[in-house]
């Protein structure tokens, strides 16, 4: 802990870091002052994560300096970062699941003997500071995500910290857990630590931050100082941040859409209401359990119905069987029991290709390695689900003209930005790869599409576009099974939301008015945090 009365300042000056093909950080300068929550805002790819890994000693900047209280201090290893009191809580858990809380916290200890007693005292101290109840002997895997995060924070400031960095800490949490996290941050701040809070949601930045820095395209494009932010009312702050975040792009999407994308406001449903009772059931799973070769969570006795024209959202913490549910519905994973019906027809025994031809489509979340073959051309990737079918193959031989014509049509229709249809798909940006997937799945008689995390990791404009495409598809009579970890997205798109936990459906919420997110959060909390 620092004892000086003057606030500690960590100054980054002209930090530049380039990777092949992209400048991730371009001359970024900012000051991080103790006793303040410094919000870093920016969409995916703005350079937030790179900046953090530089601060954490995991990457070296190509140029630029980091100074602590005026003294230039190179941070050239994670150990150096820890020695300077910089602790990072990563977006995804870094706890060893099989270890106890205490063992996890002591991972970084260097002494010969384990000082368990001392460690326990330190944990008590930190529990009090965070306002959390942490059982030191609980196995990390048994903790809820909110609690795991508290342990991660304790681990980050274990050695007496100067700076606590939270990388998108709210992305996996329920609304209730986010509130709790906010309280903990307040307490940490009151102890005189500096906090860097990374988010892409504007309303969190406004609620939790003392000052805000906005990154876009690797540059620092806007800073709102402590005094400014204090003097703004919510609307002014929002406008200031929005204009920095979007720059000139603000004109391409409406103000409202921009605010919504930036998570400025509570989300509300955007899809038109439908009368479920009069709509035929398109996809029905009854008592379905899956069986895969991998180690991920399987679905267990799942029953659900998706109607014509309906968007059914599946909410849940990442890794709770969403992948299995999507694959078992798409025919990629075999069922061990239960029946899958599509338009009344039993398709349980049909494979991917059979279901694809019936109009049951699947946009996977792993768009780089599963959804596309990066080394193949955009054109081939667009017809890859129709291998061997006419008119693209005749007598087993590829008809390049037909393939190219289809590719040109889809590239045009979905606005896929590619130098040509012969370009290797892997060289395109994430947003354009997602457009390839959507184009491929939604064309040629699609009746239902399963989408898993359709906007994860995309830039805001593409996020907007993808959501529009899904809404249009449903409005024209298509059905959507939307699996997502983003509650805002689910609330915005779905007619109903079901909650999945450990491979089971644990609740269902009709999305008709405010408070849906809380209700969903309630089911998630009840199921996951283990209210026994």
């Amino acid at each position: 802990m620092t004892t000086s009365t003057a606030p500690d300042v960590i100054s980054l000056r002209e930090i530049t870091k380039a990777f092949p093909g992209v400048v991730a950080n371009d001359r970024i300068s900012l000051d991080i002052v103790s006793g303040q929550v410094h919000c870093l805002l920016g969409e995916n790819g703005a350079g937030k994560s790179t900046l953090i890994s530089i601060l954490a000693g995991m990457q070296q900047p190509d140029s630029g300096t980091i100074a602590i209280n005026g003294a230039i201090t190179p941070i050239n290893s994670p150990k150096a970062a820890v020695d300077h009191g910089i602790g990072v809580v990563h977006q995804h858990s870094t706890l060893v699941p099989a270890f106890t809380v205490l063992e996890n916290l002591m991972l970084g200890e260097t002494g010969v003997m384990l000082g368990k007693k001392k460690a326990k005292e330190r944990l008590d101290e930190l529990s009090e500071l965070l306002g959390a109840q942490i059982d030191p002997h609980a196995i990390a895997a048994d903790l809820g995500l909110g609690q795991q995060q508290q342990v991660e924070i304790a681990k980050a400031i274990w050695k007496g910290s100067r700076l606590l960095i939270l990388d998108e800490p709210t992305s996996m949490l329920t609304p209730q857990a986010i509130e709790h996290l906010g309280e903990s941050i307040e307490r940490v701040k009151a102890q005189g630590l500096a906090v860097v809070f990374i988010t892409h949601k504007l309303r969190e930045a406004y609620a939790m931050g003392d000052c805000v820095t906005v990154l876009r395209g690797g540059r620092n494009v806007g800073h709102i100082s402590v005094e400014q932010l204090a003097s703004y009312d919510e609307q002014q702050a929002q406008d200031a941040i929005l204009s920095a975040m979007f720059g000139d792009d603000i004109n391409t999407v409406s103000d409202e859409a921009a605010a919504e994308l930036a998570g400025a406001t509570e989300s509300v449903r955007e899809t038109r209401g439908i009368d479920l009772e009069n709509r035929p059931v398109r996809l029905e799973l009854s008592g379905v359990s899956s069986r895969g070769h991998g180690r991920d969570v399987e679905v267990d006795d799942v029953a659900l119905q998706v109607h014509e024209g309906e968007i059914l959202g599946i909410a849940g913490i990442d890794g709770h069987g969403q992948g299995a549910l999507a694959e078992v519905a798409a025919g990629q994973r075999s069922t061990s029991s239960g029946i899958v019906r599509f338009d009344g027809q039993d398709v349980t025994r049909l494979g991917v290709r059979g279901r694809q031809q019936l109009g049951l489509r699947y946009v996977t979340d792993d768009r780089l390695h599963e959804g596309t073959v990066g080394s193949m051309s955009v054109a081939l990737n667009l017809v890859v689900k129709r291998i061997g079918q006419r008119p693209f193959w005749k007598f087993g031989q590829i008809q390049r003209k037909a393939v190219d014509a289809e590719a040109a049509r889809l590239i045009e229709e979905y606005g896929i930005r590619t130098p040509s249809s012969a370009t290797r798909a892997g060289t395109l940006s994430g947003g354009n790869i997602q457009k390839i997937l959507l184009a491929r799945e939604l064309t040629h008689g699609a009746r239902l599409v399963i989408v898993n995390k359709p906007t994860y990791g995309l830039d805001l404009k593409t996020v907007h576009l993808v959501r529009e495409i899904l809404i249009d598809f449903a409005a024209n009579g298509g059905s959507v099974l939307l699996l997502s970890t983003d509650l805002d997205e689910l609330v915005e798109l779905s007619h109903r939301i079901e909650i999945i936990s450990s491979g089971r459906i644990v609740g269902s919420v009709t999305n008709d008015g405010p408070g849906t997110a809380e209700k969903v959060g309630h089911y998630m909390t009840g199921a996951i945090e283990g209210v026994h």
Binding site: A18, Q356, D366, H369, V373, G374, L380, V384, G426, L458
Partner: protein, 410 residues
């Protein structure tokens, strides 16, 4: 226009990457010969004399027949990213089918029918022999490099046992099979001493090339090779794919053995193993797993091997020196790939850590600006869409079609 230009450049680049390692290997081999006190020019002149001049070119082409078939077999597996390293066992088992059953079959059946039966038998034995590694791989994800290699040792052992046991020619004290009479062997191409195995091999390569590049099966294979996950996503049965590719690969390699015995050797001795697969392997990769592109490279090796055997003896070198050259080609191929890849990405040729260490003594104060610029390399072309979520998803390194050479040489 631009696209054409860059395509032309890519073709030149590919050609350079295929030929440069061979040239470098020959230069270094020359230096080694020099260091051993012989004249490298004598050696290379010998390769030319005994590999090409007179009717020697026909001997080279005879050697080429099994080599090309083995190459096609390897390419089938490697395109599916299945590392079939069991080629020695597969080859010898195929050869033993011909040399062991040949004398009996030719005695009982007309020559053409016996030949077909032997070929089918060799194909079948090869395919069946691959089932164990293939099923283990498809069902349990076992590493096929190890299982196929182990199966290869067993296959070599079985072939030797058969030659010393049931198939031994009782009329000689040597452990070898009975000699198949000349008039029963594969006919020569008219006007030459080259058996028609070479034509079979070339036709096989052409058919394979067509299947790989033009048919739906070829595309499925490529998808499976590029990403088993993507293959599952588009509805390809990966279990079936592994078994099929392994069976085809192994069957063809066994077939090469049968062709070699019926075309050239007419009998088989125990403990004989030409190691064709080892020799052909680097050329298969230099040809970028294209059967047609492999033909000239294999032809080069056939000349080197045919001429080199005598030339090495004349230059006072061991015959194993040929494998040294093959090894050198592999090493230079790895280096060329690495350098070429770095150049394509516009990166520094040295690993970043090593680079920093090397540069440190020359830098009084670190001048980070300069190094930053070097590392960024070429400017980003304006029409290349910049990956929105880089660096995490920067796909540049992950998507190169050429598999990492380290994996296969181990």
């Amino acid at each position: 226009m631009r696209a054409e230009q860059s395509r032309g450049r890519a073709a030149v680049d590919g050609l350079v990457r295929s030929i440069l390692p061979v040239i470098l290997a020959l230069i270094v081999a020359g230096l080694i010969i020099l260091a051993m006190g012989s004249n490298p020019l004598d050696f290379f002149a010998g390769v030319w004399t005994y590999g090409i001049t007179g009717t020697n070119w026909q001997r080279s082409l005879v050697l080429m027949a099994p080599l090309v078939i083995v190459a096609v077999g390897l390419i089938i597996a490697f395109r599916g990213q299945l590392w079939n390293l069991g080629y020695n066992g597969q080859y010898l088992l195929g050869a033993v089918v011909a040399s062991g059953f040949g004398p009996y079959l030719f005695a009982a059946l007309p020559a053409w029918l016996a030949t077909i039966v032997i070929f089918l038998g060799a194909l079948l034995v090869g395919a069946v022999w691959s089932l164990i590694p293939a099923i283990l791989k498809a069902r349990y994800g076992t590493n096929e490099i190890i299982t196929s290699l182990v199966m290869s040792f067993i296959g070599v052992g079985i072939a030797n046992l058969l030659i010393k046991g049931p198939f031994k020619d009782p009329s000689t004290p040597q452990p070898q099979t009975a000699v198949i009479p000349d008039d029963q062997l594969l006919p020569y191409i008219p006007g030459t001493a080259i058996h028609i195995g070479l034509l079979i091999a070339i036709v096989l390569a052409i058919v394979a090339q067509f299947v790989f590049t033009r048919t739906s099966f070829g595309l499925r294979m490529d998808i499976f090779g590029a990403s088993p996950k993507a293959a599952r996503h588009v509805g390809i049965n990966s279990t079936w794919m592994v078994i099929l590719l392994f069976a085809l690969s192994s069957a063809l390699i066994a077939f090469a053995g049968a062709v070699d015995v019926l075309g050239q050797y007419s009998y088989q001795r125990a403990n004989w193993d030409p190691h064709y697969g080892d020799a052909v392997m680097p050329f298969v990769f230099l040809a970028r797993l294209s059967p047609l592109a492999a033909i000239p490279l294999v032809a080069f090796y056939a000349v080197l091997a045919t001429g080199g055997t005598l030339a090495a003896q004349q230059a006072g070198l061991n015959v194993d020196f040929l494998l040294v050259i093959v090894g050198l080609i592999l090493i230079f191929m790895t280096i060329t790939e690495y350098v070429g890849e770095k150049r394509r990405l516009g990166q520094s040729y040295l690993p970043p850590g090593l680079r920093r260490t090397l540069l440190r003594p020359f830098q009084g104060t670190p001048s980070p600006r300069a190094s930053a610029q070097e590392r960024v390399g070429e400017p980003i072309p304006p029409d290349t869409p910049v990956s929105e979520s880089a660096p995490e998803t920067a796909p540049a390194t992950a998507t190169d079609p050429a598999p990492a050479p380290e994996a296969r040489t181990s």
